[in-house]
Amino acid sequence: MLPSEFAALEPFSEWVLESERERYSKRLASSMEDMQAFYDAAFPLLEQASDHLDKFLLTELPEQERNLLLLMFSLVNVSFPVEVWKQARVPDSGAAYMDLVVEPKV
């Protein structure tokens, strides 16, 4: 489901998610090991993915490219637990929630 140059990320295709709400939910439901594995595979390819995607207009991304962008949105989301929190949730956030009710469509 991804452009062929990014075949290494196919095992993580479950992180191709349409909305921030879905990405954040998956993050909360994932173990640190799973998120670390995804991060370790995807982060080194972030720059290459940006270069590849920038060959297209954002409004006219082919499906595989669009999937790649959604996957990188998930990378952005898991970067917090992996790089800072060492846990899925924001520390000291308890039962608080913050729903993204409008987000720019891609």
């Binding site: 921030e20 954040y24 982060f43 972030l46 720059e47 940006s50 995607l53 920038d54 297209f56 207009l57 954002l58 991304l61 490219e65 962008l69 990188m72 949105f73 990378l75 952005v76 989301n77 970067s79 917090f80 790089e83 800072v84 929190w85 924001v90 520390p91 000291d92 956030s93 308890g94 039962a95 608080a96 929630y97 913050m98 729903d99 993204l100 009710v101 409008v102 987000e103 720019p104 891609v106």
Partner: protein, 421 residues
């Protein structure tokens, strides 16, 4: 010694002697009777920002706004004459809510040619005129001209739609005053890509404004968001604003940037280094007109280290403009003395490339991580205020805007109560 020069009065707070420097009483955030007074004295009397013109961009585009704090619901719509109007969202026949889907309490948006009541199919034009009554001949001397939708004052400033439930209120621009004048010409209209966050917060509305009107908390509450060495440094230095200004009932705080881009790349997280973006937004400003010559109201201290200005438009709108060319708004919509709906909107110039969109995604996600910490802290504060174990609290010079907010609320409530007697 302060890092940034304070006014001759000795401090920012003493620059406004009417504010005093003593401890501040927080009964105003826990007393249900006081909350009722605020509804009457403030939320039914002042200009409230309910959205942007882009939300009603075409003829017939509408959205509803639930105003529990003013005991009403509004529908805001662009009419055939391109004017934006606001109406009480109530059918003139028997008081049914006019515009809603499935759940009467949820806000909705859409486009239509006319409004039709779900109950008995009374119809209203986009201008609010009653145009159709089902079985009109069954009524007694009913003149449709007498039963149009109830109009609410609605005025627009720089694309921001404001309403006022008081028919005698002063004009919007006069109310917004100096600060608004100083911001005119900022390219708000170019920044139409929006991320909207919503949350119900278990605290009085003023407590969240308190949290965003000072950055004294940032190096402490959000310590773990920075890499270790940077967090230690921020904690030791603390926080000082570049400049504060008050034009009552509104106020503003001007802050340094420093993080977009950071002086030293090692102080930021790997994802920020890779995407060149973070809490302060994408490090590079978008390529649009109007960012080179900023309006005079921005960076009032004319400071080289300037990073953002945050304006508190009384009573419940925060407008925060970031140096790298984007802005956000916060709104605090009270629903009870100890509860409010918090809404944050982040506005960017629409991304043209995936890389630009990824930078915005990082800024938006980072915002949420911070706001979750802020929101949760407020519930803890509300609970302890309610205990009344401690009633008065010392506020420092960096908390000037909080002092001003609570005093302004008190002044409005007092004026209203005095007038009623």
């Amino acid at each position: 010694m302060p890092h940034f020069t304070k006014p001759e009065a000795g401090s920012w707070t003493e620059n406004y002697p009417e504010l005093g420097t003593g401890p501040v009483n927080y009964e105003d955030s826990i007393d249900p009777a006081y909350y009722e007074a605020e509804k009457e004295a403030i939320f039914k009397k002042t200009w409230l920002n309910v959205g942007r013109v882009e939300q009603a961009s075409k003829v017939g585009s509408y959205f509803t706004k639930e105003l529990a704090v003013a005991d009403t619901s509004l529908v805001i719509v662009r009419g055939k004459d391109k004017e934006i109007r606001a109406f009480h969202n109530v059918c003139r026949h028997r008081g049914n809510k006019l515009v809603w889907n499935d759940y009467p309490g949820e806000e909705v948006k859409g486009t239509c040619r006319q409004f039709t009541c779900k109950y008995h199919a009374w119809r209203y034009s986009l201008d609010g005129d009653l145009t159709f009554v089902q079985q009109e001949q069954e009524f007694f001397d009913l003149d449709k001209a007498d039963y149009g939708l109830k109009l609410v004052r609605c005025e627009v400033w720089e694309g921001f739609i404001f309403v006022n439930l008081d028919p005698d209120a002063q004009p919007l621009k006069e109310y917004l005053g100096e600060f608004a004048k100083g911001l005119e010409g900022y390219p708000f209209h170019e920044m139409t890509e929006v991320f909207t966050y919503k949350a119900e917060i278990g605290s009085n509305w003023k407590l969240f404004i308190d949290a965003f009107a000072e950055f004294y908390h940032a190096p402490v509450l959000h310590m773990k968001q920075a890499v270790k060495d940077e967090a230690d440094k921020l904690f030791n230095v603390g926080y000082e604003a570049l400049h504060y200004e008050i034009h009552s009932p509104h106020s503003m705080i001007s802050s340094w940037g420093g993080m977009s881009p950071p002086k030293d790349l090692t102080i930021v997280k790997p994802i920020e280094r890779a995407l060149r973006s973070g809490l302060f937004g994408p490090w590079e400003a978008p390529d649009i007109e109007g960012l080179d010559n900023l309006p005079t109201g921005l960076n009032p201290g004319r400071h080289r280290a300037w990073g953002n200005d945050s304006f508190e438009f009384f009573p419940n709108m925060t407008l925060l403009i970031w140096k790298p060319g984007w802005y956000l708004t916060y709104h605090y919509w009270p629903t009870a003395v100890d509860k409010h709906i918090f809404e944050a909107n982040l506005y960017f110039v629409p991304a043209k490339t995936a890389r630009e969109r990824l930078k915005q995604e990082l800024a938006a996600v980072t915002f949420k991580e911070y706001a979750l910490q802020d929101g949760n802290t407020l519930e803890a504060t509300q609970t302890m205020l309610k205990s009344r174990v401690v009633t008065d609290f010392p506020l420092c010079d960096q908390e000037l805007l909080l002092r001003h907010l609570h005093k302004t609320v008190a002044d409005y409530v007092k004026e209203h109560t005095d007038a009623a007697q």
